[in-house]
């Protein structure tokens, strides 16, 4: 009898070890095999809308991770015909949304919509100020010993940029 119990216990242990290794090595693979199907669904950032809801601009956000927190309705399933509007993305110039039109399960149009703040005005505040014109003939100062950094256009060629830019960044002072 004791031998029989020991045999059953060892079989049980063996079986659980087998199950464990299955979960460890194969379960993950199964989930990645599923994911290609999920690709045909519309991701979290888009939700199907009939009408664009009025949105209020919450001001400047420069951090890209903010876009994640604003995802709302998840749409699961194959592409269905209709217009999908993305969540509101706050940029330095105001809030915008991506709008995707799907027809015959295919994306037929991608447009962007500018969202406006509660007062109906775009977030960016433009004033009638213009850039100060400077003519190159005014050039007077050359390399100053007081300068720490130099602002200039990034030049075209890779190797040239590297050597010139590091020279500019390090040679000063």
């Amino acid at each position: 009898m004791k031998k029989l119990i020991a045999f059953f216990v060892s079989v049980l242990i063996g079986f659980s070890a087998l199950l464990d290794s299955y979960w460890l090595f194969f379960a993950n693979k199964i989930s990645t095999q599923v994911s290609p199907d999920l690709k045909s669904t519309v991701p979290t950032i888009f939700s199907k809308t009939v009408k664009v809801p009025p949105v209020s601009s919450t001001g400047k956000q420069s951090n890209s991770t903010n876009t994640k927190s604003s995802s709302t309705v998840r749409s699961v399933g194959k592409y269905k015909d209709g217009t999908y509007t993305g969540t509101v993305i706050n940029t330095s110039w105001g809030a915008v949304q991506v709008q995707v039109t799907i027809s015959g399960s295919q994306i037929t149009n991608v447009t962007m919509i500018q969202s406006t703040s509660s007062d109906g005005q775009p977030h960016s505040e433009l004033v009638d100020s213009q850039a100060e014109p400077i003519y190159i003939s005014e050039t007077k100062s050359s390399q100053s010993s007081k300068i720490q950094a130099v602002s200039g256009a990034t030049v075209t060629y890779n190797g040239y940029t590297n050597s010139l830019q590091s020279a500019l960044d390090q040679a000063v002072i």
């Binding site: 993305i89 330095s92 991506v98 003519y135 003939s137 390399q143 720490q148 950094a149 200039g152 990034t154």
Partner: protein, 256 residues
């Protein structure tokens, strides 16, 4: 990793250099006393995090890399509904910038999405904010500047007497400075006719270079590009622009 140390009148400047996005990124740290070895190690740790971030941005948004998200998107291999959230943020920002600049800034080039005119400035700004600004915990550090290909975002500790003297390069002679600005905290961007990866169609051919000063590099970088295209563009509040025109009689000048 190399830290270059330079003694200024009353401060010490530490410089770290990293090459990515086809250009050079330079971190400048201004301290009022020499940093200890332990503090230098902290600086290197944060610089590594910054470099890792910039490499990730390049891998995702480079138009020169075949497997970047931008390249996949432009070849139609991924759809707008399949792109990452950060891609949507950049896509949206480029669109909003186009509207704000009256289409002088446009990330669409030959029907392809090319966000390079936005991505560099944005990654410098977020890179400084997320990875370098924590170094202000070291009390000797008075100011930090992150420069990428001639554009920079910088911050000076509150109450510090440090001032950055930033020169604007002469578009004719890259070894000459045509103007010097004294700034503590903010961003400065310069666009020129030799800009890499930015396809600028100048309406006024006498414009050689545009420099824009503001608080956020993602904005100033876009406005610098916009001023190259339209030097008469209206700028938002708290943004200052300098447009450099060619000499009269310059053979490159074509009157529009």
């Amino acid at each position: 990793m190399n830290i270059i140390q330079k003694n200024l009148t009353k401060h010490t400047m530490y410089t770290l250099v990293h090459k990515t996005m086809g250009t050079v990124f330079t971190t400048q740290i201004i301290a009022n006393e020499r940093l200890s070895q332990c503090e230098e190690k902290k600086v290197i740790k944060h610089q590594r995090l910054l470099e890792n971030y910039l490499e990730q941005v390049d891998a995702r948004f480079s138009t020169y890399l075949n497997d970047s998200e931008v390249s996949l998107f432009n070849r139609g291999e991924i759809k707008i509904t399949e792109v990452s959230d950060v891609f949507i943020f950049v896509f949206s920002s480029c669109f909003a910038a186009k509207l704000a600049t009256n289409e002088a800034f446009d990330a669409n080039y030959n029907d392809k999405f090319d966000p390079s005119g936005f991505v560099k400035g944005w990654s410098i700004e977020t890179g400084l904010n997320n990875f370098l600004k924590p170094l202000f915990k070291i009390e000797h550090i008075q100011a930090i500047n992150l420069i990428g290909g001639g554009d920079m975002q910088f911050e000076t500790r509150n109450g510090s007497n440090w001032v950055f003297d930033i020169g604007i390069v002469n578009p004719y002679s890259k070894k000459e400075i045509i103007k010097t600005l004294a700034l503590t905290t903010g961003a400065i961007a310069t666009s020129g006719i030799s800009e890499r990866g930015e396809h600028i169609y100048r309406r006024n051919k006498s414009v050689l270079q545009a420099t824009v000063v503001g608080t956020s590099l993602q904005e100033t970088d876009v406005w610098a590009t916009a001023l190259m295209v339209n030097p008469k563009a209206s700028l938002p509040k708290n943004i200052t622009g300098f447009v450099f025109y060619a000499l009269e009689g310059d053979e490159n000048v074509k009157n529009s």
